[in-house]
Amino acid sequence: MRARVVVTGMGIVSPIGIGVSEFWKSALAGQSGISTITSFDPFPMDGYRSKIAGQVRDFAIERFLDSAHGERVDRYAQFGLVSTKEALTDSGLQMGKENPHRIGVFVGAGMGGMVMGEREITQLYQQQKPHRVHPNFIPVITLNSASGIIAMAYGAKGPNLTISTACSSSAHALGQALHCIREGRADVVIVVGADASITPLVFAGFCSLRALSSKFNDQPEKASRPFDRSRDGFIMGEGAGTLILESAAHAKKRKARVYAEIAGYAATSEAYHMVIPREDGLEVAHTMKLALADAEVTPAQVDYINAHATSTTIGDAVEAKAIRHLFKSRADKIAISATKSLIGHTLGAAGAIGGIASVLALHTKQIHPTANYDDPDPACALAGLSRSAQERRINVAVLNAFGFGSNNAAVVFKRREM
């Protein structure tokens, strides 16, 4: 029998709360973390089509971390350090008592160290002084700066990987960590999703892609509205989530509290288009199907989906179509929620944060609301979507995450007693 893998700790930095309990309280209340961007100041916002984002407010690394590890990395990696500190504490794992070579770190990051990266690039081109490029520029923007610093901060000497598949990055990190533990290559993997790139250049890039919502600049909390008829693009977010994945045997041995089992994972490519999903949704349906098979459950057993649902016109419709295609008549019996309706799209962190929402749904038997689902779009109406929190005991949860580059991932979580 193959090794089972469980989730034993969680931590989060999000626009609606730093810390899992604060995040979950806000999420269940349907609180929005989306607001007008102020962080560009003195750079003017006038030229931007979209002017709002899901920002983590008042974040200062020294408030959360005693060590100096946060000082040499960019904002996204600082988020990852903080969410990981919470998750490790939550898991009760005593790093000093573990074999460090059996503990890995898998990070999903989409954009990486863009705060410093952008500043240095701009300065170089403006001033043309190559010797003024900061010596830390390369280590900071290198995409594995987060997985590196997290291992250093907490002493994890096992496999250390960074997975970058845009918006599905940390869903893949979860899945790869599951397989890594299943294959016996590690006892514990610290899985992190982190991104913090609400910067003038990156934000302008998403604006130019016409990917962001621009109709609700005056009502930021209304802008992220997955599956609603008046949705007009996603809202950029930032944050980090950490899940401690552990072999069930290892968790049992140290009498750890188990939140849920992570049971299955699938990764596919649509091999279709850099930013547009296949409209028939067949590839998305196929990805979920493969993940369920990996988890050894049938579509009929699924009762919750944490949808990718970014609030784009095409994306949400395709996902709804895929859910209908795979689950047939059961589609309307499955509870569905879109975490991005509350915090925006946290890019590389989205999979980990969606994973935390899925695990909390299994663990607390509560499903957070999908904000702004006021006028269901007939093209993607699903009965399981709700504007208010739902109380429901669920057994099997599916987490979807899709990324630019024609990239799909699905992860399956199970209630721990199953």
Partner: protein, 148 residues
């Protein structure tokens, strides 16, 4: 914050006495070779207080320590705990503070706060003031032993 420069910048340092002391120990000989200035030779004057202060302030900010507690005799690695990357970051700040470019071949000599001060003075052309007397200034014994 107000600094007692006389207390924190030993006059004897730039005369090369400290370097000579290192040389006798032998341990750091290679580090100091570039900056060994014998007593009276070149007639160097005391360390420029502005430059020294700027450098120690930069170090203080970097290390989150009181600049007054940083002495020119402090070895960047051994006394202040900077690793090789941190030394590079510090020099980057110093390049900015003094609008300098420090070529790679000069890095090898910059191992104590005093080396950096002397180097910057040299580069800014401020250290060439002729000395009026050839009086030998002995290093205060208590200070030379001290390593905070």
């Amino acid at each position: 914050m107000p600094l007692d420069l006389a207390a924190t910048t030993p006059l004897w340092y730039s005369k090369g006495v400290k370097c000579e002391a290192f040389r006798r120990k032998g341990a750091r000989q290679s580090y100091v070779s570039l900056f060994t200035v014998k007593d009276g030779e070149n007639g160097l004057m005391a360390t420029d207080p502005t430059i020294s202060l700027k450098i120690r302030t930069a170090l203080g900010e970097y290390l989150k320590r009181d600049p007054a507690a940083i002495r020119v005799s402090h070895h960047l690695r051994e006394d202040l705990g900077l690793d090789s990357m941190a030394v590079i970051e510090l020099l980057y700040r110093i390049e900015e503070a003094f609008d300098l470019q420090i070529p790679d071949q000069d890095l090898v000599g910059l191992t104590t706060v005093g080396h950096v001060v002397t180097y910057v003075e040299k580069r800014l052309g401020k250290a060439a003031t002729p000395a009026k007397t050839k009086k030998t200034i002995k290093p205060p014994k208590t200070k030379s032993k001290k390593k905070s």
